[in-house]
Every structure is written in structure tokens, then in C-alpha cells.
């Protein structure tokens, strides 16, 4: 465990000493809960329409595919005309694009970032590496199927997918959201134990709370 996560006694500015247990005190301990649909169908459909039209991507690039995001967010392909924007922090984003291979070390950061995102939230896996390991299929350091660790709503194939493929993927994601089928976050909450067990099997130095939302 890292030193800054160890339990310790801290002296406050007023001279009072108190004990700090970072893992318990700095993070929320309760597991995520399932978000039920709205009370009547038509309202839920309205919500889903609104959700589909406001996609905010977390600016977190992993692997080679992150390079395709730059032309997408600039005038050449201009994803903004589809109502899609990039955000700098997990708190402001609702779509996590895993843009390629994930090393175990990055997976840890990806999990933390995903859990910090607010509901409703979606995950898109980009490229062969997220699907079956791609050309890193025999690597000692990258995971081979993303959906064992994070709830993936949509995969976009390719190595790497072109910006056009991403745009098509975003349209497909919108269709899924409007149809109420992009339920990844709820799946994550329902099968939380299973996801955690998978995550902990590859991340050996687990030094964070189980849920750090």
C-alpha cells in the first residue's frame, strides 16, 4: 500500500491531533445502485431522447486509438455537429471511450475514472484490442476483453477505427440509448461483485476503495 494511503495521525492547524484513514475517510464506501427507469414509459423515453442528444466524452485516451479523437473534435470531422463534446474530467462526462489496448496499470485508472462518472453513463470500446486483445493478444501486460472489467455498451471494430467509423458508432450508440438498451451502468451495479472479482484478479496491488464514486 502506498504511504499516502496508510492510516496516520495528523495535526490540524488548530493544534488538535486526529486520525486519518484515507481509504475510509476520503472515499465513499457504498456500492453503486441500479437506476430504475422513470415511472411511466413516455417519460423514460423523453429522458432517453435527451440523454442520447447530450453525449459528453471523457478526454481519457488509452492505446493508439486516442489519436483518432483529435481529428474528430476538430473541424475536419467535427463531431460537435452531432451534439458530442469532450470534457476534461470524469465528473463532467457520461461517455467513456476506451480507445485501444489497456495495460493493467491503465485499467486501474480507467476503473477509477469510470466509477467517478455520474449516471447515466456509457462505455464504448474502440478497436480490436478492447474486443479480443488485438495485436496484443499474447502480451503480458494488457487485458484481452474489456467487457470483463467494465460494462461495454458498444464496440467499434477496426485497428484502428477511422473517425468515420467512430461517427457511425456514435449514431449507433444514440440509437441504443433512445431504445433504452444502453444499460451498462445498471449492469455494472447489478453484477458489481463479478466485475470487482475480475478486476482484482489482474490488478494485484489493489490500493483503492472498492468503489470510489
Amino acid at each position: 500500500m502506498k504511504e499516502e494511503l496508510e492510516k496516520r495521525v495528523v495535526k490540524g492547524p488548530d493544534g488538535v491531533e486526529f486520525e486519518v484513514d484515507p481509504l475510509r475517510d476520503y472515499y465513499c464506501q457504498s456500492a453503486p445502485t441500479v437506476m430504475p427507469p422513470a415511472y411511466i414509459k413516455i417519460v423514460e423515453e423523453l429522458f432517453n431522447w435527451a440523454r442520447a442528444e447530450s453525449i459528453w466524452i471523457l478526454g481519457f485516451g488509452t492505446g493508439c486509438g486516442a489519436i483518432e479523437m483529435r481529428p474528430l473534435m476538430t473541424p475536419r470531422f467535427d463531431a460537435y455537429r452531432y451534439g458530442i463534446q469532450w470534457r476534461p474530467t470524469p465528473r463532467q462526462a457520461n461517455l467513456f471511450v476506451i480507445s485501444g489496448y489497456l495495460s493493467v496499470k491503465t485499467l486501474k485508472r480507467a476503473i477509477r475514472s469510470y466509477e467517478q462518472m455520474q449516471n447515466p453513463k456509457y462505455v464504448v470500446g474502440l478497436g480490436s484490442c478492447t474486443i479480443n486483445g488485438g495485436m496484443y493478444w499474447d502480451s503480458y501486460n494488457t487485458i484481452k476483453r474489456l467487457d470483463d472489467y467494465l460494462p461495454v455498451d458498444l464496440y467499434i471494430t477496426g485497428c484502428m477505427p477511422r473517425p468515420e467509423a467512430l461517427l457511425a458508432g456514435f449514431q449507433e450508440l444514440k440509437r441504443l440509448i433512445r431504445a433504452g438498451q444502453a444499460e451498462g451502468a445498471n449492469r455494472y451495479a447489478e453484477q458489481f461483485e463479478w466485475y470487482k472479482a475480475n478486476q482484482k484478479r489482474v490488478i494485484h496491488d489493489w490500493d483503492m476503495p472498492d468503489y470510489n464514486w
Binding site: V104, S139, N141, K144, R145, V202, H204
Partner: protein
């Protein structure tokens, strides 16, 4: 390069000179001569830049080869120094006091090959890997594929095609 080799050989017992290109050559030497030779090259012959420090695992011979690649900017030439170490309990003197950047390479070699560099700054701290439990992954007796199969869930149905044959079958199914 040959001239430089002759001049150095007069002072140090050096191995053969392997000339790869007119501006790139390699010399093998014993580990005890490395530091004096580095100093000599740096102060007398203009090799002021450590380009890289890397290792090769000669598992059949039971040794690691360390390669110190130096660059002489004014003379536009590179010289590689090769040092062989026994693989068992591999350990080498640190050169971080000559080139501070060497400390980073040495950390990497420690983690990826398990070659120790006592007294090199931070050499015992984790560098790139987190929570690694197996033998160092760049050693050739580390079976990457087996490790990947045991540790990561695989998605069934993955197929590998030989690119040349696949293209021929797709594009020219009639011809050979």
C-alpha cells in the same frame, strides 16, 4: 573507428571491434574496464552523450549483455560498449554518477530483466509495472503467451490468418 580502437587498445584490454557502419561500431570488454573506458571516451574522445543502456538475454550462454551506446556529437559517430554478465544473480556497477539519465535505464533493466544496479537512485522502486509477481517479463525464460493465457480472460473465436495466404485466397483464388 579503427583508429580509435587502436588507441584505446593500447590502454585497455578490449575485445574485437565490430564495425556496423562507418559511424557505428561495437566493442566488447570486461566489466572492470567499463568505468575507466567510459571516462576516457567522455573526456578525451568527445563521447559526451549516453544514447541508451539496454540488455540482451543470451539465455543459451547463461549471460546478459549490457550495451552502453555513446554518441560523439562533434564527430557524428556512435560507439557501443558491450559488457557480458553472468545471468545468475546479475548485478552491475551503476554509472548514474557519470550520466544521471542512466539511473532511469537501470531502473528499467532492474524491473524488466532483474539486473541489479546497487546504489542507483530508485532502483528498487517499481518503475512501469505495478504489482508484478512473476519473474521479470523481458527475460527469455518468461513465457509471455502462457502468462497471458493464464492471467487474462480470452474471448473465444479468435482466428489468426497468414496475411500473404489470406490476400492471395481473397484476391487471386484461381492462381498460385
Amino acid at each position: 573507428m579503427h583508429e580509435l580502437h587502436e588507441r584505446l587498445k593500447a590502454i585497455f584490454p578490449l575485445g574485437e571491434l565490430t564495425v556496423q557502419r562507418p559511424d557505428l561500431a561495437f566493442i566488447t570488454l570486461g566489466r572492470e574496464h567499463l568505468r575507466p573506458l567510459l571516462l576516457e571516451l567522455r573526456h578525451r574522445h568527445g563521447f559526451t552523450h549516453l544514447v541508451l543502456l539496454t540488455a540482451v538475454d543470451w539465455i543459451e550462454e547463461g549471460c546478459f549483455q549490457l550495451t552502453y551506446l555513446l554518441n560523439d556529437r562533434a564527430g557524428a559517430r556512435d560507439l557501443g560498449l558491450r559488457v557480458m554478465l553472468p545471468r545468475e544473480g546479475a548485478s552491475m556497477e551503476s554509472i548514474h554518477d557519470l550520466w544521471p539519465t542512466a539511473a532511469t535505464y537501470q531502473r528499467e533493466l532492474r524491473e524488466m530483466f532483474g539486473i541489479d544496479f546497487p546504489a542507483s537512485p530508485g532502483v528498487d522502486e517499481p518503475f512501469i509495472l505495478e504489482g508484478w509477481r512473476d519473474i521479470p517479463p523481458y527475460r527469455r525464460d518468461f513465457d509471455t503467451l502462457k502468462f497471458a493465457e493464464e492471467n487474462f480472460n480470452q474471448r473465444p473465436g479468435r482466428a489468426t490468418l497468414d496475411p500473404a495466404r489470406h490476400m492471395r485466397d481473397r484476391l487471386h483464388p484461381e492462381g498460385e
